[in-house]
Symmetry: C2
Subunit: 249 residues, 2 copies
DNA sequence: CGTAGCTTTGATGTAGGTCAAGAAATGTGG
DNA sequence: CCACATTTCTTGACCTACATCAAAGCTACG
């Protein structure tokens, strides 16, 4: 829309996302675009960040899906968050001296590596960028909080509905999928580890939602058949996702 | 220990905490100390921040306990986090245009109000402060993630043990309580809403842990009777709490 | 075109919820 | 300091949502 975001070098999904939180100066944009150097492909199922790792890099996800998860002593896994293009992988892991989680691609991905040192330098050098990243992190924390509510106080079917709706809203924001559905490469095992359920129960819940005529999840595609009803059923209030400065009055 | 932190005006629990994440300049310290103006007392049970509120303030908690929570359509409540002295209340609520959660004191508290405008100005004006706040927010997000794992993949008794251990570690860090236990003003209803359980089951779980000789929680006091066993039982790994730059090698 | 990973379904078990009711604290006004 | 009210704690009986176990059909890709 303006001179800066029209430039192919300075424009990126992440830059657009961050500048929705706080205005970025030309120099902020330059620093950010420099962090996009070092782009690579990573295979599905191979950890890019390991729980406990020190000095880990963060990654800007350009294409594909990934997730961050924690493993428990008994071998159980809890997926903390699912990431889609435009998200940053392992920001926390890079900001803190030691990563508290692992990150793995769910599909093959393309991502730009930001070594810890470089990221911290960029933030220290670029105050506008640091503020935007802080606000974006706050937004991610709001999503984490909603996920936590999901696990703590909703039934399996409500959790599933809520999760699929949230994913839909996030995907639409980055131009993947429209209001009626989206492509979704998550297996029922991944859904189970995300929603704190067993894979078997995920299957039953999906069948139930399908039979109710609310959503279908088949052949890697989610389709909303009665969006309004699903929103009501799952108690989905998307305001925690919004960050446009659309304040009342 | 140095000239700055020795000064009574520039020293505060929050300043000490933040400077553990990133060095604060004299000017950062001044800006931060200015945010401690406007100190007041707030009564237990009266929301200081409401879910959905715009332009809400954040608060630096000086004494007492508080919690942030979300209410669901059906009336159920999920407590997202419990705050103790030295913590910031409603940081997310103040950084984002609209608060995604409510905050209420559990006991009467003393806290310094930071209006949204003032906080954002301070962060924009004080890059070192912004970076420290970002890192501290990353640390809080790590705690959120662990809470999420707790709800998703641990049994009721494990959750309880884990939560009581985490609280103990956090309290010790701010000089409240030692390795053997601490004063804890949380009711079983609050514990239930935190851990995603019913109050009745909280009671049973506490009895079970007591009978196992692991912890007691009686008359507002938590006492660890076999710390090592409890840590093992709950699968508690405190590394997600640490932020001292104690990297290996 | 085989085999490893997904999905689907049924049968059965259990952790934790709900309901109910009494006991113990805690607080409040007189 | 006491009577009364309110909240918090405790326990028992019963129920349900989800887990676990087992096994068969699908899909896909090497």
């Amino acid at each position: 829309m303006n001179d800066i975001s029209a430039s192919p070098i300075l424009d990126s999904a992440l830059a657009r996302k961050l500048s929705a939180f706080a205005p970025l100066s030309v120099s902020d944009h330059l620093v950010l675009s420099d962090l996009h150097r070092r782009r690579r492909r990573y295979s599905a199922g191979v950890d890019t960040i390991h729980q406990g790792q020190t000095r880990s890099s963060a990654f800007i996800l350009a294409s594909g899906w990934a997730c961050s998860y924690k493993l428990l002593p008994g071998g159980a896994r809890q997926i903390v968050s699912v990431q889609i293009p435009g998200d940053v992988l392992g920001l926390r892991s890079a900001l803190l001296p030691r990563s508290d989680q692992s990150v793995e691609p769910i599909t093959p991905i393309h991502a730009s590596e930001m070594p810890q040192r470089e990221l911290l330098d960029a933030l220290a050098r670029s105050p506008g960028l640091a503020l935007a990243v802080l606000l974006s992190a706050a937004n991610e924390a709001a999503m984490l909080a909603e996920h936590l509510v999901n696990l703590g106080r909703r039934t399996a079917a409500e959790r599933m509905g809520h999760f699929l709706l949230e994913l839909g809203a996030r995907l639409r924001r980055v131009g993947l999928g429209d209001g009626s559905g989206y492509h979704c490469p998550l297996s029922q095992y991944v859904l189970a580890d995300t929603l704190g359920l067993s894979a078997v129960h995920v299957n039953r819940v999906l069948r139930e939602l399908r039979q109710q005529g609310l959503v279908t999840f088949q052949k890697g595609r989610v389709d909303f058949h009665d969006l309004a009803a699903l929103v009501a059923f799952a108690g989905f209030d998307r305001s925690y996702l919004d960050h446009d400065q659309q304040m009342s009055a």
